[in-house]
Amino acid sequence: MSMSRRVLIKAVATGGALLGLGALLPRLAMAAWAREAFESNEQGAALNALYGGETPEISAQVILDAPDIAENGAVVPVSVSTDMAHVESISIFIESNPAPLAAQFVIPEGTAADVSTRVRMGKTTNVTAVVKADGKLYSATKEVKVTIGGCGG
């Protein structure tokens, strides 16, 4: 054992610091369920909680496909796609819902930036898709009129 006690301590301290740094790096590849964002009752706050304060830029490259009128708010088909490169995630917000953030999709490399799902809408409101590409946020918004709300019992 040639390593002196001092060197060993230093090595352990550096390793510990590196571990600490790792823990501080925000949501790498696999984003965990963002509780604060999903539980926020206001769209701006939900956006902030998910993306840390950056405001998305409205972009025609974000294609948000949702019906003009949804007869049944319990099942509203929503598709989001973009031809942007390096897409990291796509999220869907429904402004007047009790919790606006409906879903966040992680798009790994090799997966097309084109996802579809079905969401609940309590009433007529704006649906916003936010795409994170190359570290920047882009959005598209569309109003969907709801005839019968989908959040009641």
Binding site: M30, F38, F105, D114, C151
Partner: protein, 102 residues
């Protein structure tokens, strides 16, 4: 108990996946007949892997419709390959299921 129904089809260099989870997606906003709130129970996390690599992941809130449906496609995958679908509820209940690419 399996809850995922997965239709994955290899088409040229990509695999198209359509999947539906059999799940109530209880929002936590509804009340039962005696006026008590029915506790939230929804799928919160989904992850699809092909050959060990994550090809799709989703974090969901209760605003996703009952029996959630998703479609996506990824580069790679061949007929006969296995997809591994993992899910986790807000309650902590989780599961992993497999589906074959056709």
């Amino acid at each position: 108990m399996s809850i995922m129904r997965v239709k994955a089809k290899a088409r040229g260099a990509t695999t198209e996946v359509k999947m539906m989870a059999k799940h109530i997606m209880e929002t936590g906003q509804r009340k039962d007949k005696s006026g008590n709130i029915i506790p939230a129970q929804f799928l919160a996390e989904l992850e699809v892997r092909h050959a060990g690599k994550v090809v799709f992941a989703a974090n969901l809130g209760p605003a996703v419709s009952k029996n959630p449906y998703f479609s996506f496609s990824f580069a790679g995958g061949a007929s006969g390959d296995t997809l591994e679908v993992s899910w986790k509820e807000n309650t902590g209940t989780s599961g992993t299921e497999t589906a074959e690419i056709r």
